[in-house]
Amino acid sequence: MTAAALETRGLVAGYEPDLPIVRGVDLTVAPGELLVLLGPNGAGKSTLVKAIAGVVPVHAGSVHLGGRDITRVAAHRKIGEGLAFVPQTENIFARMTIHENLQLAAAILPKALRAEKIDAMYRRFADLGAKPSRLAGALSGGQRQMLAVARALIVDPPVLILDEPSAGLSPKIVGEVFAMLKEINAGGVTVILVEQNVKAALSIASRAVILVEGRIRHEGAAAALLGDPLVAKLYLGTGHTQTAEQP
């Protein structure tokens, strides 16, 4: 039996030990899946992925990557273990150039590989390669996301987690970012996505998990979830939108 790309067992996490935000999450993500984590505000989606990434303390339970327990692995070592994380905001080093951002991320690779990997990212993301000496803080919202994803992908991680990559982007750019994620997933990377942009996320995801008050309330195929009116009304807010539009 193939090990799950990522698995959490009874995960309890939060900033304070006596105030857990994630309350016992059992999540299994198969290799090559594109999973979207959905749920209302405050459901614990971002806290869950931050806990997996090692940014938020885990108080109980465990996190397994490709069958290895990485619960107590320090946050800075998780990228080396094969788990890349792109936070929602401040996900690039704005005071550094594009090239320096990528050099920093490539530093965990053997020296001989670094330049080759950075060049590969420039080929993949032509906007970044066009002017690598540009200050990252001067990039547009879409280009920033591109750089954040390139920084995460440079070490060829088997698992990529993104926290609301569409936040603050125009609809056109959101489409481009999601198409990029779909392509990355097609290349064999397991992608876990936290999103508020429900329809767009479900349209690219293979499976969805809905989190409510720190616990998994529903999971299933993304396509089925997209067409489920009850789930949409209860958890995704689409029912509220319809109500609000009624006179």
Partner: protein, 303 residues
Amino acid sequence: MNPQFLMDGLIAGAMIGLGAIGVTLTYSILRFANFAHGEFLSWGAYIALALSGGIGLLSTTLVKPIGPFSFGWSLPLAAVLAIGLTGLLALAVDAALFGRLRARGGAVIILVMASFGASLALRSLLEFLFTSKPAYYTKALQIAVKIGGGLRATPDQLLSLGVALVTVVAIHLLMTRTGIGRSMRAVSENPALAGIAGVDVRKVIRVVWFVGAALACVAGIMTGLLVQIRPYLGHDLLLPLFAAAILGGIGSVPGAMIAGLIVGLSEAAAVQLIGAEWRAAVSFVILVAVLLLRPRGLFGRAA
């Protein structure tokens, strides 16, 4: 106005600049004002004094002055060892005090107060070990030579300027061209993201303590060489160091050095224009003016 103030100001400014680089690095990465930083200057100066004396006892030829300078090879050798030991002292202080407070999630004000305590303890220990009587690396007298433009400087002063220049260029290259420099800048900008990107933040913090204290040691030795060595050597420079670090913009290495030169030149000019008793007020005026008018300093970035 006597143009000699330019040379006096540049020399004082170079020492302030070197010390300010350490302040700006620790401030930008550890995110608190370390008021114990001045003590690393004093400790560096005294460690070099003790080692230089010890080397002198082992070999008298190493005490004979090198060329036009007032000191023998015992001092540069002692300086190299002292730089390492002062760096280790800073690491020990961090491990014993600041690191523990960080691990407990101590607020910035607690770290600042702790740095006041550390400063007092380190200075008192220095007075206990070496007494408060001034000491000197050498008693040899040096004659200032004409260097053009109506300016005079001793060979020791010119060497100190050269060492300061080489050091600041080296630190600038370290920060901009090396992996550890990039990691230091990354931690300075966003420690959480740096960790996610694979940077070992704890290692960076250790490097920052070491480099900051090493630079303080160099500044302390130069101040000891050009003036005298006292337990209050670093403490008395604390206000100019912070004025320079803030004027240069927190996190900017070239900014700290340029601002150090500005502070040094301003102090030297004030001595000639309004009297030596106002020298200390210059740093305070600069500090307050920068905080009121341009808090991010000359080369700092907006928050």
